[in-house]
């Protein structure tokens, strides 16, 4: 240890000899790494798996069950009708299942108050268990039947009541009476893969949760994606929405084993065959069962702008590495005499490599500091340029450790070649000069 502290001291003395080229090397490396860090943050967060334990067990089934025969575009609709969901629910193969959509509404405690605009997730009981939603107070609805009960997020409860424990409180949701049955703890699934349509997975979680049947009874139409294939008046959702061809529901099932997944696929095939036999499925079969981890790419929601940035910043980092390495080489070659002297006095190449490690450590410390500052500034800039990705700009421990590792590797690469060149120089020539 004492020897390594000595190596650190020697490194600092060496920096003091030529501080400007050293500072320039650190600056170039910090800028390259900082820009890379900023982009890597978004890339990592956008491509992270929010439920790694179950993302291969949650599936999104889609049926081409529409009342017309397609001729050109036979893609399966991304959303399902109420009756299709009912048909898909007529099996106990999935251990959990939940249909859902989102809508906008206004919430207040009393009619004389200014209403609070809220986003509503209209869903079923299993939603909360499937996506690991934490409950702070109260309990989730006992079944999927209609009930005038809402579940609030902690933030919404505090906004309305100034506290979080508000179970049993009465509210007006678009001027209809509802009761608070539960309050959720802080929760933000990122990316929000259960709602990947139209890149909604990039947005924040909803404010309140309403039972699906109640949502239909209250005539809430989807605010994100809906398709209709007949001329029914869907403003009367509570009556005609349940039987007509309005497609607005996303449906998720939990299939725990490959056998369950295979069985569910077979169930969907049989369902389509029955529908075709009954004359209700004029289009060719095109069933889809997409795993949650693949849903964004299936919907074409990959962030191509971030991917393009990733490539550009990687190239920029390589250019910075090359330049920093060149500067470092000049610095080491100007110190080659000292390397030769140390070797003549008995330092082996491996001892010189330890000296190099001390150089790497110091360079990494400076570089990491500079890169984190530059990266932080870069994230702020990208949040202004691409506000849709704003939620994905946080650093977690895994990401930080990864970034620190990249910085140390870059510092090592910038130091490795120059130091090897310097330590393999001709001893006698350097010492004679």
């Amino acid at each position: 240890m004492e020897q390594f502290i000595y190596y650190l001291k020697v490194s600092l003395i060496s920096i003091r000899r030529a501080p400007l080229p050293y500072a320039l090397t650190i600056f170039i490396l910090s800028v390259g790494l900082g820009v890379f860090f900023a982009n890597a943050t978004f890339y990592y967060q956008l491509n992270s798996d929010p439920l790694p334990e179950k993302s291969d067990k949650l599936f999104f089934p889609m049926l081409n069950l529409v009342p017309y025969e397609c001729s050109t575009d036979c893609r399966t609709p991304r959303v399902l009708s109420y009756s299709n969901v009912e048909k898909l629910s007529q099996t106990d193969i999935p251990s959990q299942a939940a249909a859902m959509y989102s809508a906008d509404g206004y919430l207040r405690q009393r009619a004389d108050q200014t209403p609070l605009p809220v986003s509503i997730r209209i869903t079923q009981r299993d939603f909360f268990a499937m996506f690991d939603v934490p409950v702070l107070h109260g309990s989730i609805w006992p079944d999927n039947s209609a009930r005038p009960e809402v579940i609030l997020t902690k933030a919404t409860a505090q906004k309305l009541f100034g506290k979080s424990d508000v179970v049993g409180e009465k509210l007006l949701l678009d001027d209809r009476n509802v009761t608070v049955s539960a309050v959720l703890d802080d929760w933000q699934m990122l990316p929000r893969l259960y709602d990947a349509n139209n890149r909604n997975h990039l947005s924040e979680a909803d404010d309140i949760y309403l039972p699906l049947e109640t949502g239909y009874d209250m005539n809430y139409l989807s605010n994100s994606q809906s398709q209709t294939f007949d001329d029914t008046d869907y403003r009367q959702l509570s009556t005609q929405g349940r039987t007509g061809a309005l497609h607005q529901l996303q449906y998720w099932v939990k299939l725990d084993t490959p056998a369950q997944q295979q069985a569910y696929r077979q169930f969907m095939t049989n369902l389509v065959q029955d529908e075709k036999a009954a004359g209700r499925h004029p289009s060719p079969p095109n069933n889809q069962l997409v795993a949650m981890r693949d849903i964004v790419s299936y919907f074409g929601g990959d962030s191509s702008d971030i991917k393009a940035f990733a490539l550009v910043t990687l190239l920029f980092l390589l250019v910075c590495l090359f330049n920093a390495s060149h500067l470092s080489l000049n610095r080491y070659l100007s110190n080659q005499y000292e390397f030769s002297l140390r070797r003549a006095l008995g330092a082996s190449r491996s001892q010189l490599q330890l000296q190099m490690l001390a150089d790497v450590l110091i360079m990494a410390l400076f570089t990491i500091t500079g890169a984190l500052l530059t990266g932080y500034g870069g994230i702020k800039l990208m949040n202004n340029l691409l506000p849709a990705n704003r939620l994905f700009s946080d650093w977690d421990l895994t990401l930080l450790l990864g970034l620190l590792t990249v910085a140390v590797i870059c510092s090592y690469l910038v130091t490795l070649y120059p130091s090897l060149r310097a330590s393999f120089g001709s001893l006698n020539q350097q010492l004679k000069e």
Partner: protein, 232 residues
């Protein structure tokens, strides 16, 4: 102590081969003070570098303390240099932003000595060269003669078996050169073997043995006198 047998060294470029040393056979015994002389380009520095394992040779054999250095790994050669050989260079080769103490400590650090052992050896060496009071000075704060005495202290602090000095007084005036020579003689009297490259006939005469090299070959032991060579 040092035995060279038919040692040769060739410098090669794309166009020419230069035979720097040809069939050198030489024995240097323990405790000797030998002067190595010869005209510029005769191969004396090359020979000194090979003896110091700073340079490889092509043919022949070099044995130090009865063991051949041929084929030794980088780590083994480094250990050999660190433990058995002390270097004194013409241009001192002190690290300018290290204190005198830190400069002398350099080879001792690579030997892995404990701080107390290093301190003891450094202080003994500083005492011998008479610079104990200036241990915290930087080299630039010392005269040329004092800097060379620091270099000698660095060389002897490791208690080497042989001291290789490449024109140690070449950059010094006559007074300082005489002081350095007296110091080397004192070190030799304490039992350390010394091989010194020099152009100065007076210094060569002061050594107990004179080895002359011309055109890469050992010559008869006649003192090479550059003034005589010029007039001839």
């Amino acid at each position: 102590m040092i035995t060279l047998t038919n040692l040769s060294k060739i410098f090669r470029t794309e166009l020419i081969e230069t035979h720097a040393l040809r069939d050198i056979s030489l024995q240097i015994n323990e405790g000797e003070f030998a002067a190595l002389t010869g005209p510029s380009g005769s191969g004396k520095s090359t020979l000194l570098n090979i003896l110091g394992t700073l340079e490889q040779f092509d043919d022949g054999d070099y044995q130090l303390d009865g063991k051949s250095v041929k084929g030794l790994s980088d780590a083994a050669l480094s250990k050999l240099r660190n433990e058995k050989i002390g270097f004194i260079f013409q241009s001192f080769n002190l690290i300018k932003d290290f204190s005198i103490y830190d400069n002398i400590e350099l080879p001792l650090r690579y030997r892995g000595l404990k701080p107390a052992q290093r301190k003891q050896r450094i202080e003994q060496a500083l005492e011998l060269v008479g610079l104990h009071a200036r241990r915290s000075y930087l080299p630039s704060q010392l005269s040329g003669g004092q800097q060379q005495r620091v270099a000698i202290a660095r060389a002897i602090a490791g208690q080497p078996r042989i001291l290789l000095a490449d024109e140690p007084t070449g950059n010094l005036d006559s007074l300082m050169a005489r002081q350095v020579m007296e110091l080397l003689e004192q070190i030799n009297q304490q039992g350390c073997t010394i091989l010194m490259v020099t152009h100065d006939p007076d210094q060569a005469r002061r050594a107990g043995r004179h080895i002359q090299i011309i055109d890469g070959q050992l010559s008869d032991a006649v003192l090479y006198d550059p003034l005589a060579a010029q007039s001839a």
